[in-house]
């Protein structure tokens, strides 16, 4: 086998090993080191001190130990440590723990019920009012926390029973919560976009600016679907009675908005605004977001020692999960490209004579399919980098590609077998809500994602408008 063939073999073997269910960070590390040992194998370099020993005078022990030393004297180990340090000193990734910390704090700030109650009352005269309120709560809360599971479960406990009580169609109601809860990883500030920036070297602030309008577009499409369906098929979303959603005087409603919606919106806007206007780095803005979240939790009297500890420990665990994945993948991919894997893939793709559009569709279909069994972190850190060098050939802007991927990966939470949003919801939903109903409810939202992706392609200005306004071309 030639080296590039071995590189392809390495990739294929990795995909097989992923399915064995071992922690992927360590699988990547092992594959990188194993194949790297082959790639950097050099008898002269490795056994140099053994070769220098005088065979007649050196003792048996010296010879043996020098030989064993040679066996472990591979450059792959230096590469591995070097790449580990690269991840440790990656300045873009420093924002990850801070945003996670902000998310965990906000998640524990007892804000979601206030928010849902307020929006529920505010929107009560609209068709599908509870669905609209649930969706907006999800979107806003998810944007502030960025943690899909928490949003879906908290909303599943709060909004789903309320909607079911108001005789909403269970499938319709669960689709809203699953799809809405997932929006947080798309709308900036989002951990997923930071991770894409670290994997692709696209400027994170441009990416944030680029993803903002598409995120809002998708939210708009979701809303349009919820309202439209409620108008066309009122039985899925009956108007709530006065018992279910009380009328409140305007002044009281205003006060509710000021105490629930405004602080969270202010937190998000100040974090996002200071990033987009270049007032602070994402890392700095994230620290302000975390401190702001702590303040908010105090004001809502939700900050306890226990909650603080939980947030701190969970931040560490999620950061470790993401960053060790990077440690593995940096090593894996440098060995992969050292063996010429990158090159052979790009030659193969070029030989297919694809048009840029065909390539784009192919890439997105592959990412969509990967989203069935895998989660976004694995796809972005491991698989997306394989497509990145090909973008140059087809003259596709990696920023544009990144936004499409981020949209696309919304579906990874909603498609079985690994439909995390649906599973979280199923885990806390009343037993009469069947998993199949949840999946059926998610389907129309998948449709919205595809429409959003097509809109991005037809009107790329949705992606490029803000970055070019803020940062020029």
């Amino acid at each position: 086998m030639t080296d590039p063939q071995i590189a392809l073999f390495m990739l294929g073997l990795f995909i097989v090993f992923v399915f064995l269910g071992f922690p992927i960070a360590f699988t990547l590390m092992a594959m990188g080191i194993g194949f790297g040992y082959y790639a950097y194998f050099d008898t002269r370099r490795m056994w140099r001190s053994y070769d220098r020993l005088d065979a007649d005078t050196a003792s048996w022990w010296d010879q043996t130990s020098a030989w064993w030393e040679g066996l472990f004297n591979s450059r792959i180990f230096d590469l591995f440590v070097n790449q580990t340090y690269n991840v440790m000193s990656n300045e873009v990734l420093t924002a990850v723990p801070l945003f996670l910390f902000m998310g965990y704090i906000v998640e524990r700030a007892n804000i979601v019920n206030r928010l849902f109650d307020t929006l529920n009352i505010a929107s009560r005269r609209m068709p599908g009012s509870m669905g609209v309120a649930a969706l907006i709560t999800c979107a806003l809360f998810a944007t502030a926390t960025g943690i899909v599971g928490a949003v879906v479960t908290l909303m599943g406990l709060l909004a789903l029973p309320a909607m079911l009580k108001a005789r909403y169609d269970p499938s319709f109601a669960s689709g809203i919560i699953c799809a809405g809860g997932t929006l947080g990883i798309l709308i900036p500030p989002s951990i997923m976009l930071i991770v894409y920036a670290a994997a692709s070297n696209v400027s994170i602030v441009r990416l944030y600016a680029g993803a903002l309008l598409p995120g809002l577009t998708l939210t708009g499409l979701y809303l349009a679907y919820v309202i439209g369906r409620s108008i066309l098929q009122p039985s899925v979303a009956p108007r709530p009675t006065k018992d279910e959603v009380p009328d409140v005087p305007a002044a009281k409603l205003l006060w509710m908005v000021i105490t629930s919606f405004v602080p969270l919106a202010f937190l998000i806007l100040s974090v996002l605004g200071s990033i987009l206007f270049g007032l602070a780095t994402p890392t700095e803005a994230a620290s302000i977001g975390a401190l702001g979240g702590i303040l908010l939790a105090f004001l809502y009297r939700a900050m306890t020692w226990q909650r603080m500890r939980e947030s701190v420990y969970l931040t560490l665990r999620t950061t470790a999960m993401v960053c060790w994945l990077f440690v593995g993948s940096y090593t894996f991919s440098s060995v992969f490209s050292y063996l010429g894997g990158e090159h052979v893939i790009s030659e193969f793709v070029q030989s297919l004579n694809l048009t840029p559009l065909m390539f784009l569709i192919l890439a997105q279909v592959i990412i969509f399919l990967l989203g069935w069994p895998l989660e976004w972190s694995e796809i972005i850190i491991i698989f997306v980098p394989i497509f990145l060098p090909l973008l140059v050939i087809f003259e596709i802007d990696p920023l544009f590609f990144g936004v499409l991927v981020a949209l696309n990966l919304q579906t990874s939470f909603l498609t079985p077998p690994m439909a995390m949003s649906a599973y979280y919801l199923k885990g806390i939903a009343p037993p009469e809500v069947k998993l199949t109903q949840i999946f059926a409810g998610c389907l129309p939202f998948l449709g919205c994602v595809f429409i959003a992706m097509i809109l991005m392609y037809v009107f790329p200005q949705i992606v490029f408008y803000l970055p070019s306004q803020f940062y020029g071309n």
Binding site: L79, I275, A280, N473
Partner: protein, 341 residues
């Protein structure tokens, strides 16, 4: 016989003019070796990051590295003396001459091989034009206006700018413009009009200040892995080493053409305001060097190095300046009104 394939990585992104200059070396070596050597040239980040090239060459992850010594000055501050040290009056050419004829190479080997215990052999090429003070969002002309700026430079220049009241961040070239966009820094210098243009400096700042004493004597550094050089046939080894001298001339010529053309482009097409750094700031820089030099000389090796450089500059530049005609006079005579000093 199959060619011997060497891995070479630079500290520059692939789209930068400096990667082209590294490629000029590859082209020359491959031609001179009659196909016996083949060099695989990679951009920064392909194997290791820009600031880790030295480590990687030492470990044999790379056979050849292309960077500037100041990129590893975190391991030993004296690295900065090979290219970005105090300006005693010599240009980059003066200092490269010191490297090859004034005892610089021996001092460099002492630093890398004896003091730091590295398994590398390094050579300098391409004496660079003096580096501009850099890119600012608003025009600055006094030291007072510099206070509180977060400014990007590298090496001893960072210590120098800190003395001028700026807070300094050191970043590899490829990370500068994204850092400006992110707000990590407010102002920066990298090196020259072409590289700066290739990075997109004109998109993030509109004022370009030329002339500065912070890095007026830098050259590229070629790093060769020690084991590679030990094993290589003598003629191929000579080609690798003397190829550095050859590419030096090629790079100087290319820089003359490209840098000037890009400066013109920045001024005329990109609407950049090009001015000369004020005398006040330039004087403050020399004063800052005066403060810095005694601090550096506390280290015996640095003292030895600086003494050697000072002695070289004193004698060599005396001849140069006493002998050189005033080129400005002739330039102004033939191209009146072009210079704005």
């Amino acid at each position: 016989q199959a060619p011997k394939v060497l891995k070479m990585q630079s500290a520059w992104p692939s789209s930068n003019v400096w990667q082209e200059m590294a490629q000029d070396y590859v082209t020359r070596v491959e031609a001179m070796s009659g196909g016996r050597l083949k060099i695989d040239l990679l951009p920064a980040g392909a194997v290791v990051g820009a600031f880790q090239v030295l480590d990687a060459v030492n470990d044999g992850l790379l056979d050849i590295g292309h960077d500037v010594p100041v990129y590893w000055y975190g391991k030993h501050k004296a690295a900065s003396l090979f290219g970005t040290g105090p300006v005693f009056g010599g240009s980059a050419t003066t200092m490269m001459n010191w490297f090859y004829e004034g005892g610089g190479k021996a001092l460099y080997d002492e630093l890398t091989q004896d003091i730091m215990g590295l398994d590398i052999d390094g050579y300098m090429a391409f004496p660079m034009p003096a580096q501009p003070f850099g890119w600012f969002k608003n025009p600055v002309s006094s030291v007072a206006e510099l206070q509180g700026f977060k400014y990007r430079t590298v090496g001893l220049a960072a210590d120098l700018m800190a003395k001028l009241g700026m807070s300094v961040a050191q970043l590899p070239g490829g990370e500068i413009v994204p850092a400006m966009e992110r707000g990590v820094i407010d102002a920066f210098e990298f090196n020259n009009p072409s590289s700066d243009r290739d990075f997109g400096a004109q998109d993030v700042a509109k004022n370009y200040l030329l002339a500065s004493y912070h890095q007026a004597s830098e050259s590229f550094e070629f790093l060769f892995n020690g084991l590679l050089m030990e094993d290589l046939e003598p003629d191929l080894k000579a080609i690798l080493i003397h190829g550095v001298e050859a590419v030096s001339t090629a790079n100087v010529a290319k820089a003359a053409r490209r840098y000037s053309a890009d400066l013109k482009w920045l001024e005329e097409e990109a609407g950049v305001n090009i001015v000369r750094t004020s005398d006040e700031i330039l004087a403050a820089q020399i004063a800052a060097w005066d403060e810095l030099i005694p601090e550096l000389e506390a280290d015996p090796y640095m003292k030895k190095c600086l003494d050697s450089q000072r002695a070289w500059v004193k004698d060599v530049v005396f001849y140069e300046l006493m002998n050189a005609p005033d080129y400005g006079l002739a330039y102004n005579h033939y191209f009146p009104d072009r210079l704005k000093l």
